[in-house]
């Protein structure tokens, strides 16, 4: 099993300033201790509602935000990751650990190392209208990563741009146009081309189909599958639309208030969701079949603010299975068989 990306206990807080001297009075705990692994050439789905931290998680992995703590191991062999974990427990202050982390842990990379990382990890944003600079020609937009990373310029860059445009289904006629001359679907293709032009190994797709029409979504999803087959890219598909994630991902993780509550293969999650939140979430999705109508809403209340998450299990105020232990301790992600990880005391009782 070769993992391309391994996240260990990642945390990202955003400070809230208050008072006259602008001191930090509180933190928005957007990502609060997240650990998972992404295999090579798979499509890993990340679902959750607004405020759960999925977009922040994606951007933190990409180092658009600097994590507060935790490790991001990109393309690091499994044995080294395990060695680092054991070193952290046994010799937390050893020089060896520090050297390992400096070399392998992306979360602390700077300068040249960070630039190299940019070549291998990219992102496609949700809204192609705002993620493309409306005053630049398509050719310049797609060529920018090449120029910024020093991979190619001029004629060579143009060749690479044409190659990638063909891959995403555009032609050279689209080179010398402004983004606003295209439809939403085509603009999103330009954004995808920009992300792929440096041939990254890992691309984060942040709700890439939300801002696009229903009939165009299928085209984009086909494109993603096609690109994955042809180029072997690893995708991380962040979305709040569970029906799409079900169709395109191999494995899925469900986030709630900054933590992952369940993750497993797509079939397992959608056919046998174990966590009460996952069950409610999947049941809330409106099925396009009028013969399957639900009488009551599966979940009441609203997502609490990530500034002050509930103590213990974050879901306990809304959980139908909440017990007394849920109000005191936070459940860990436990393998409940078949590589199906759940963080819930009702599923995996506290021992």
């Amino acid at each position: 099993m070769s993992y391309l990306l391994q996240i260990r206990n990642l945390k990202k807080y955003f400070p809230i300033y208050g008072g006259v001297l602008k001191r930090t009075v509180a933190n928005v705990k957007a990502v609060d201790g997240v650990s998972f692994s992404v295999e090579k050439s798979e499509c890993f789905g990340l679902v959750g509602e607004s405020g759960c931290g999925k977009t922040t998680l994606g951007k933190t992995i990409l180092r658009l935000y600097k994590p507060n703590s935790g490790h991001i191991f990109f393309d690091v062999p499994q044995d080294i990751v395990e060695e680092i974990s054991t070193l952290e427990i046994k010799e937390p202050k050893s020089r060896r650990l520090r050297r390992f982390l400096e070399q392998y842990d992306v979360s602390t990379h700077r300068g040249r190392d960070l630039l190299n990382l940019r070549r291998k990890m990219q992102i496609v944003y949700q809204d192609p209208t705002t993620s493309l600079d409306s005053r630049m020609l398509v050719k310049d937009i797609v060529a920018e990563p090449l120029i910024a990373q020093g991979i190619a310029k001029g004629e060579e860059a143009r060749k690479m741009v044409l190659e990638i445009l063909e891959l995403v289904g555009l032609t050279d006629r689209h080179l010398y146009r402004f983004p606003h001359e295209f439809s939403g679907g085509q603009r999103q293709r330009v954004a995808i081309a920009r992300a792929l032009v440096s041939r990254p190994a890992f691309v984060i797709l942040d709700e890439p189909t939300s801002a696009v029409d229903v009939s165009v979504r299928a085209q984009l999803l086909n494109l993603f599958q096609d690109l994955q087959k042809r180029l072997g890219i690893t995708f991380m598909f962040i979305s709040h639309d569970l029906s799409i994630v079900e169709c395109i991902s191999h494995r899925v993780a469900i986030m709630y208030l900054g933590k992952i509550v369940e993750y497993s293969s797509t079939k397992e999650i959608f056919h046998k969701p174990l966590h009460p939140y996952s069950q409610a979430l999947i049941a809330s999705v409106p099925v396009p079949d009028p013969t399957q109508r639900k009488e009551r809403a599966p979940l009441t209340g609203e997502v609490p603010s990530p500034v002050n998450p509930p103590v213990g299990c974050r879901f306990h105020p809304r959980c139908p299975l909440a017990m007394s232990v849920c109000k005191q301790k936070e459940p860990e992600l436990v393998n409940s068989g078949n590589e199906h990880y759940v963080a819930c005391f009702a599923v995996n009782p506290e021992r």
Binding site: D213, S215, A218, E246, L281, P286, V287, E302
Partner: protein
């Protein structure tokens, strides 16, 4: 569900005169909303669903202009909305027909509390009622002061300008109390927890779901005959959407409201609507009962739309081509370039909107109509 029609849109034509040319946004739209039913209006971006709903309220912004057709509103004795004068329109908006929009916080004024905004709507239309209630309450307490006389005068002459002024800015306690009670009652009816506290909150303190409920409360404040909901749950989380959809269904069941529900999400349509109208590029192409539409769709566009819903394990099917430009549109059916069944006549003449089966309308030459 009675067969009485609340609103009939007939052959509505709306054009937008822009710098780039004349956009024929709506080209003969036919829509019928029956009493006590939820009619879904489905279509992609740019198909004209929002313009249709705005036309019903005569709120189409310039450079748009309503060029033809009729919108018959049953409550006003079948009068044509498009020919109404300003005063009738103003009394109709908010009282007979209300509208709720997509982004709730954009449609709430950030400097007024929830209570202020809901009472504003109520005071426009239900002033006299509040005066009467205030008078009754004061009489019950046997008070004889100035307040009572003022209200009596105003109740007798509700059209007076001073009446309107006092009604809106009144600081007299009894009147304010009546209004506040009514606001709390309306908030309760949309299942907002702790309505007294919420009434004093500002819009930025509300979450998305709460804000949308407040907007729905504002729309229901005057017991409208018809509610237009323009994609009210698109920006909300899935779990909150389920709650709001439930609320909408309850409105239909408990209050017999007629609701025009606009969306692009076919899942929502299947869950909530009784009848569905499908729009494409400024035309209504198919209207049917929701089970009929999903079970046996007639129009090729409806079929393609249903097939493009992603299903696990199956390949993704999309509709080839793009939506045609509405500036100088081509003749004939607007779906002609993307339709797998296009015939000669489809290129020349627009198909009529006929009743193919009972209660099931479609605009397609596959079902006759040449």
């Amino acid at each position: 569900m009675s067969q009485k029609n609340v609103v009939e849109v007939q052959n509505l034509d709306v054009k937008f005169y822009t710098y780039a040319g004349v956009v024929e946004a709506l080209d003969g739209v036919n829509l019928t909303l029956r009493e006590g039913e939820i009619l879904g209006l489905v279509g992609e971006t740019g198909c004209g669903k929002s313009v249709t709903s705005l036309s019903i309220l005569m709120l189409v912004p310039p450079p748009g202009r309503i060029e033809g057709g009729k919108i018959r509103f049953d409550k006003q004795g079948g009068a044509d909305i498009l020919r109404m004068n300003d005063a009738s329109l103003r009394s109709m908006r908010g009282k007979d027909i209300s509208m709720i929009f997509q982004e709730p916080r954009a449609y709430l004024n950030p400097v007024y509390t929830v209570e202020d905004q809901i009472s504003e709507v109520m005071l426009v239309h239900r002033q006299v009622e509040f005066f009467s209630k205030a008078i009754q309450a004061l009489q019950a307490r046997k008070s004889k002061g100035l307040e009572l006389n003022v209200y009596r005068r105003l109740a007798k002459n509700p059209e007076s300008r001073i009446g309107g002024f006092i009604g809106r800015f009144s600081r007299k306690r009894q009147f304010k109390d009546e209004v506040r009670n009514e606001v709390v009652r309306v908030l309760k009816s949309v299942e907002i927890p702790d309505p007294e506290r919420v009434a004093h909150m500002y819009p930025h303190e509300l979450s998305g779901g709460m804000a949308q409920r407040v907007v729905i409360a504002m729309a229901l404040a005057c017991y409208p005959t018809m509610l237009i909901a323009d994609e009210p749950t698109t920006n909300l989380d899935v779990t909150v959407q389920a709650q709001i959809l439930n609320l909408v269904k309850q409105l239909r069941d408990n209050f017999k409201s007629s609701i025009l529900y606009i969306t692009h999400d076919l899942g929502v349509v299947a869950q909530v609507c009784d009848r569905v109208a499908v729009m494409y590029a400024g035309n209504v192409v198919e209207t049917a009962d929701v089970f009929e539409l999903f079970g046996s769709p007639l129009h090729p566009y409806t079929r393609a739309l249903l097939e493009s819903i992603p299903r696990p394990g199956k390949a993704f099917k999309s509709i080839p081509g793009i939506v045609p430009s509405l500036i100088n549109p081509l003749s004939g059916c607007r779906f002609r370039d993307r339709c797998p069944y296009a015939m000669e006549i489809c290129l020349k003449v627009k198909p009529p909107f006929d009743e193919v089966k009972k209660g099931h309308f479609a605009a397609c030459y596959l079902y006759g109509g040449s």
